[in-house]
């Protein structure tokens, strides 16, 4: 109950500032918080990253192992991205089965990487229809400070860029690990997710937790290196006008280019 009153007060303050073109942390409306990427933080994983986006912090690990392909996708390797909010990351997070917010988070992160076709899954096949390489990209939110969508997506992309794929040979129809041989993952493009919040008539990029607590709507748009729009998810309790959405798409492309440069340095 108290938090509802606080949220209303926060909203008034945030909106007053937005009218003068400012945000509570001094950023401009289309400015992201600084993104800090560190890779190779979990040596036991095939790839890993620790990403800070303002006060939000994520650890992602990539595990790569042979697996059976999906029945209808025998010519493709497996790619699965998950995300979870650890109980230590947020006073409101609880252990146990994921709630709808967490499921949405995981699915939106997965969709961004899948639909941009970041990884050429055809190159991860060992024997068609029988044995393929599976890449599992698991992200854990360890400190929640708003915009978990982009933070988890960046950590997942950074984790993939940092990973090495072991080599398996087929002996008697079963994959056998070849020690000491590894290659770079087959990267085709760099997905960048950009999340925006609408508060009143203002669209802001990369909302903080405070801004999220009083936003009207949210939209996450993922673009690829060729400037295509590949995944969109609208969230939040109110809508957008068609003009606002087209503006968001443009913002996602321009802001995305800056983040992509940071990814390119990891390659």
């Amino acid at each position: 109950m108290n938090s509802q009153i606080l949220d209303q007060l926060k909203r008034d303050k945030i909106l007053d500032l937005l009218k003068t073109g400012k945000r509570i942390d001094g950023r401009t409306l289309d400015e992201q918080r600084p993104l800090i990427i560190e890779t190779g933080v979990i040596p036991k994983a095939n790839g890993s990253a620790r990403v800070k986006l303002g006060n939000t912090e994520i650890i992602t690990g990539v595990k790569i192992q042979p697996d059976k392909p999906f029945p209808d996708l025998g010519d493709k390797g497996i790619l699965i991205c998950t995300a979870e909010i650890l109980p230590l990351a947020d006073p409101n997070a609880e252990p146990g089965p994921p709630n709808e917010e967490v499921i949405e988070l995981a699915r939106v992160v997965d969709r961004g990487i899948r639909e941009t076709e970041m990884i050429d899954l055809h190159q991860l096949v060992l024997i068609e229809d029988k044995s393929v390489i599976g890449m599992f990209i698991d992200s854990s939110v360890i400190d929640s400070g708003g915009n978990l969508f982009d933070a988890c997506s960046y950590a997942s992309v950074a984790g993939i860029l940092s990973c090495t794929v072991p080599k398996w040979e087929i002996k008697d129809d079963a994959p056998v690990l070849v020690e000491g041989v590894a290659s770079k993952p087959p990267i085709k493009t760099l997905p960048v997710s950009v999340t925006m919040a609408r508060i009143g008539d203002y669209i802001i990029v990369d909302p903080t937790k405070d801004e999220e607590s009083c936003m009207d709507g949210r939209i996450t748009i993922t673009t690829n290196s060729d400037g295509n729009i590949c995944a969109v998810q609208k969230g939040g309790s109110d809508g957008f006008t068609a003009e606002q959405l087209l503006q968001c798409a443009e913002t996602a492309l321009t802001v995305g280019r800056k983040i992509r440069k940071q990814f390119e340095q990891l390659m």
Partner: protein, 234 residues
């Protein structure tokens, strides 16, 4: 798809599948609707405003909206496990958020409005069809609303932007974009995309879907008129 833009099910690029909506099909629910949208067959039932259980979910300043989208095990080719999948939980959430701006919840503090959706047969675009039925069921329940919510998808199939993607097109297509609109207020309340679109295609695709939403709105309106203004009164 043929050269002159005739699709695998015989439709033109900007043609919707057949839609029929029946209002008030359930006796126990406060409001209900049944929609057939192409081969989709979907029931929606609304209960409330009523007491919230569990109690701690109640909001003293406003009512809350809950939504469950569920697919029957027999609704798809391969039997679906009846337990709610992650996909269904995500769809429940986006449908709830698409309906929420239309429902005037402030008038019903400490209560809940439950929207239950059962997909009896699924055929591509089921979340849009489900949303269309749910909006009509909310209106049928007499819940004050700012506007209806009308949903329709557009997509990219064989390099062309098409309205209302069906199941085959979704499987083979390059992009699928479900959109929901409050047609009189002009606000988009649901937007998702998976696929790959150039920025200009993104714009065309969204505009195509919005035209579809407006056509769906006419069907929803007619269905409600049929139940509530049978004798020609307005």
């Amino acid at each position: 798809m043929t050269e002159d833009g005739i699709r695998c099910d015989g439709r033109r690029l900007d043609e919707l599948r057949n839609i029929s909506i029946k209002v008030g099909v359930l006796k126990n629910a406060d409001g209900s609707a049944y929609i057939e949208f192409g081969k989709n067959k979907i029931l929606a039932g609304v209960f409330g405003p009523r007491d919230v259980h569990p109690k701690h979910m109640a909001n003293p300043d406003s009512g809350i909206l809950r939504c469950r989208y569920h697919m029957s095990p027999f609704s798809v080719t391969e039997r679906k496990n009846p337990a709610p999948s992650r996909r269904e939980i995500e769809i429940s959430k986006v449908i709830k958020e698409a309906l929420q701006p239309a429902v005037i919840l402030k008038d019903y503090p400490r209560t809940v409005i439950d929207v239950f959706i059962e997909v009896l047969q699924a055929d591509g675009g089921s979340r849009c069809a489900a949303l269309d039925a749910a909006a009509v069921a909310l209106a049928d329940a007499g819940i004050p609303m700012r506007d209806l919510v009308s949903a329709c998808a557009a997509g990219k199939v064989a390099d062309r932007i098409v309205l209302d993607v069906n199941n085959e097109e979704d499987q083979e297509g390059q992009a699928d974009m479900p959109v929901a609109l409050m047609p009189n207020i002009g606000k988009v309340t649901l937007l998702q995309l998976d696929g790959m679109l150039k920025p200009e295609e993104f714009k065309t695709c969204m505009q195509t879907a919005l035209v579809g939403c407006k056509r769906v709105y006419e069907v929803q309106r007619k269905a409600l008129m049929e139940k509530y203004f049978q004798n020609g009164e307005q």
